[in-house]
């Protein structure tokens, strides 16, 4: 009996020795959507994906993928999922066409289906010219298109993509996401992990992971609307002085500089934060324009992962 969800997980936990990589994660991922895992390195994104496709056994908890309990029935799942690893993991000493041919054979496609499917994928992912080229001579973007072509050869119902764009330039990333939306339009469910904000914003739903725990979940819009903080933008001539003036206040939870502006997250439970900040700056003789703005996904991320500024935060998409 299949549920309406492509993936459900309850209390999914995995530890390596004493280190808990994934800590009681609950998931309900709807079909035919792009669902994103957003989190810094080491937050448990890869481990979660590996558990969902049966590569790792959970320490505790359970999950069901496309109606199959995993890891018990992970072999049944194999034909229905496509998996793209973080690192290029096709064979670098084989050509583009040979790699696709091999993967098609492994997935048990008939000879005629193979020829047709490979021809179609080469064309669709603009790899025709490179078909006789060895994979180790491809650029980052080409390698990634090849990996996606290979992962979709058998038309899987679920694609699991582990940081697929980490070695790709911005233009190729955009093209890649276009391809993902095409696949979703065709009914495929896609689970993608990323540490790019702009990529996370493109997802239908996202889960923010921090040190193995799921700390926020929902659509990017809903998450931005319901952020548990006031977001202020402060424009000042002397940004360093302004930052110094408000940085120590107990209701200011995080300050980040964006060019000539400061971006601050403040405690929502404190009233009139905007006025308080204005007064504080005026008392110190700092000329500044203070304005309340809409939260960005990065604000959501910072708020959700506990305002811990000295840890790795995900790169802002625009900077890439």
């Amino acid at each position: 009996m299949e549920s309406g969800y492509a993936i459900t997980a309850r209390g999914l936990t995995r530890s390596f020795g004493k280190h808990i990589a994934v800590d009681h994660v609950d998931l309900q991922i709807p079909r035919a959507q792009i669902y994103g895992f957003l989190g810094p390195n080491g937050s448990g994104k890869s481990t979660t994906i590996r558990m969902l496709c049966g590569l790792l056994r959970p320490t505790s908890g359970e999950c069901e993928v496309l109606g199959h309990p995993v890891p018990r029935d992970s072999e049944l799942l194999r034909r229905e999922i496509g998996y793209m690893t973080q690192r290029f993991s096709l064979w670098e000493d084989l050509t583009v066409a040979e790699n696709l041919e091999f993967m098609a054979q492994i997935f048990g496609l008939s000879r005629s289906a193979r020829t047709e499917r490979i021809r179609q994928r080469l064309q669709h992912y603009r790899l025709e010219e490179m078909r006789a080229q060895r994979a180790d001579t491809l650029s980052g973007g080409q390698k990634q298109r090849l990996a996606l072509a290979a992962a979709t050869l058998h038309e899987p119902r679920l694609l699991l993509l582990d940081e697929p764009t980490s070695a790709v330039d911005p233009q190729n990333r955009r093209d890649f996401w276009e391809s993902l939306f095409e696949l979703v339009a065709g009914g495929t469910t896609i689970l993608v992990s990323t540490h790019y904000m702009d990529e996370a914003e493109r997802c239908h739903g996202i889960a923010i992971l921090d040190r193995g725990k799921l700390v926020a979940e929902g659509s990017p819009r809903a998450l931005m609307d319901s952020i548990d903080a006031d977001v202020l933008e402060i424009e000042a001539a002397d940004t360093r002085a302004a930052r110094h003036a408000i940085g120590g206040l107990d209701y200011v939870r995080s300050v980040a500089q964006l060019g000539t502006r400061l971006h601050a997250l403040l405690d929502k439970n404190v009233a009139d934060t905007v006025d308080k900040v204005r007064r504080q700056l005026a008392e110190q003789g700092i000329e500044a324009r203070v304005e309340k703005v809409r939260a960005s996904l990065e604000d959501v991320f910072v708020a959700a992962t506990g305002f811990n500024s000295d840890r790795d935060t995900p790169a802002a998409g625009k900077a890439a």
């Binding site: 590996r50 496709c53 049966g54 590569l55 790792l56 056994r57 890891p71 072999e75 194999r78 034909r79 999922i81 998996y83 690893t85 690192r87 290029f88 993991s89 096709l90 064979w91 670098e92 000493d93 084989l94 040979e98 091999f102 993967m103 054979q105 492994i106 997935f107 048990g108």
Partner: protein
């Protein structure tokens, strides 16, 4: 099932063809080993440098020295004037053997309870001990009226290798050494490399089964092993005139079983090693005792009991017994059941361990 197995095997062959170095080693290792072992290793030691301290200086003592030289085993390079000089020469490494003929040599010759002369050997070098034993048996020169050489108590006939050529003993067993070296190392490294490069992580998420993956990867190496066997046999016949007395069919059956054994060992290493370097070191770790304890170099029966126990779990031991039986003694497999079944048993045990360890999972 067969389609996927074939896909894995043909991918492996494709990659092997492109890996020039490995491909070269498939032919290069047997060739090099063959020349190295065939020409350099010689248990039939000849021309050992010797010094002579002849205090007697009689015609008989000189004739005795001349006869020793005539065997070709020793080559007298110097004469010493004293015991001290004799010892100094050996100490300096100038000679490995010294012959001391005492002043009363002629009188001792007539006695039966005292040795006539002394042979000193450099014990720091292997294999010279046996040589000295042989030399001490040099009969006294026949001189009419003086001495009648006594007949040997035993006549020695070396069966299967009448000319006592080392190559005949070495070459058949060398097939086993070369197969152990290449089969084990190539498979272990080939699989660990796929793990290192992340290929295995991708493969695990596909419908390919462990057994298809394992057999598909090993199949090309079975053929490589058979090619190497033929190569060594052919070279052995052409270069060293090693006769193949037994049936070729029996020989290839034995070779196939042994290839299966070494490939399984390679697989076992690949399930333990995390990096190619580790896989490499582990195969060397298995290779060394195989070469030393299998009977390839030293007679198996002469080894201490614990060494023989260890040798029993090394496939090479049983293969050496098999191949020497088939190639040199023309023994049919029915006469070689003991090593045959031991080899099969070992292969089965290793395969069971591999099956238990080779899982389609990362943890």
């Amino acid at each position: 099932m067969l389609n996927r197995l074939f896909a894995v095997a043909s991918k492996e062959i494709r990659q092997l063809r492109r890996d020039r170095l490995t491909f070269g080693m498939i032919v290069g290792i047997p060739l090099m080993q063959m020349l190295l072992f065939g020409y350099a290793i010689n248990f039939d030691v000849r021309g050992i440098k010797a010094t002579v301290f002849d205090e007697a200086q009689t015609s008989l003592s000189r004739a005795l020295i001349a006869d020793m030289q005539a065997t070709g085993v020793v080559r007298v390079v110097s004469h010493s004037a004293s015991s001290a000089e004799m010892n100094r020469r050996m100490n300096a490494g100038e000679v490995s053997i010294a012959v001391h003929i005492p002043r009363d040599f002629e009188r001792r010759r007539l006695e039966t309870d005292r040795p006539m002369a002394q042979i000193l050997i450099d014990g720091s070098q292997p294999s010279l001990e046996n040589l000295a034993q042989g030399l001490s048996g040099t009969p006294l020169p026949a001189r009419p009226g003086i001495y009648r050489p006594a007949a040997h108590r035993f006549e020695i006939r070396t069966q299967y290798n009448p000319e006592k050529r080392t190559a005949v003993q070495i070459v058949p067993a060398l097939i086993g050494v070369i197969l152990s070296m290449t089969m084990m190392m190539f498979t272990a490294v080939a699989i660990v490399r796929e793990r290192e490069r992340g290929n295995l992580e991708l493969l695990i998420t596909t419908p390919v089964r462990s057994i298809e993956l394992m057999i598909g990867k090993l199949l090309p190496y079975v053929f490589i092993g058979l090619i190497q066997t033929s190569l060594v046999l052919a070279l052995g016949t052409v270069l060293f005139a090693v006769p193949v007395q037994g049936s070729l069919l029996a020989l290839y059956v034995a070779a196939l079983i042994f290839i299966a054994a070494t490939l399984s060992l390679g697989l076992m290493i690949s399930t333990i090693a995390q990096t190619q370097t580790q896989a490499f070191q582990m195969s060397l770790f298995l290779l060394l005792p195989s070469i030393l304890l299998s009977g390839f170099v030293f007679p198996f029966d002469g080894m201490p009991v614990p060494a023989r126990w260890i040798a029993q779990v090394l496939p090479l031991t049983h293969f050496v017994a098999l191949i020497r039986g088939i190639v040199l003694r023309a023994a049919p497999l029915s006469d070689l059941q003991v090593p045959l079944y031991k080899l099969l048993g070992l292969t089965a045990v290793v395969l069971l361990i591999v099956m238990a360890r080779f899982r389609k999972r990362l943890d």
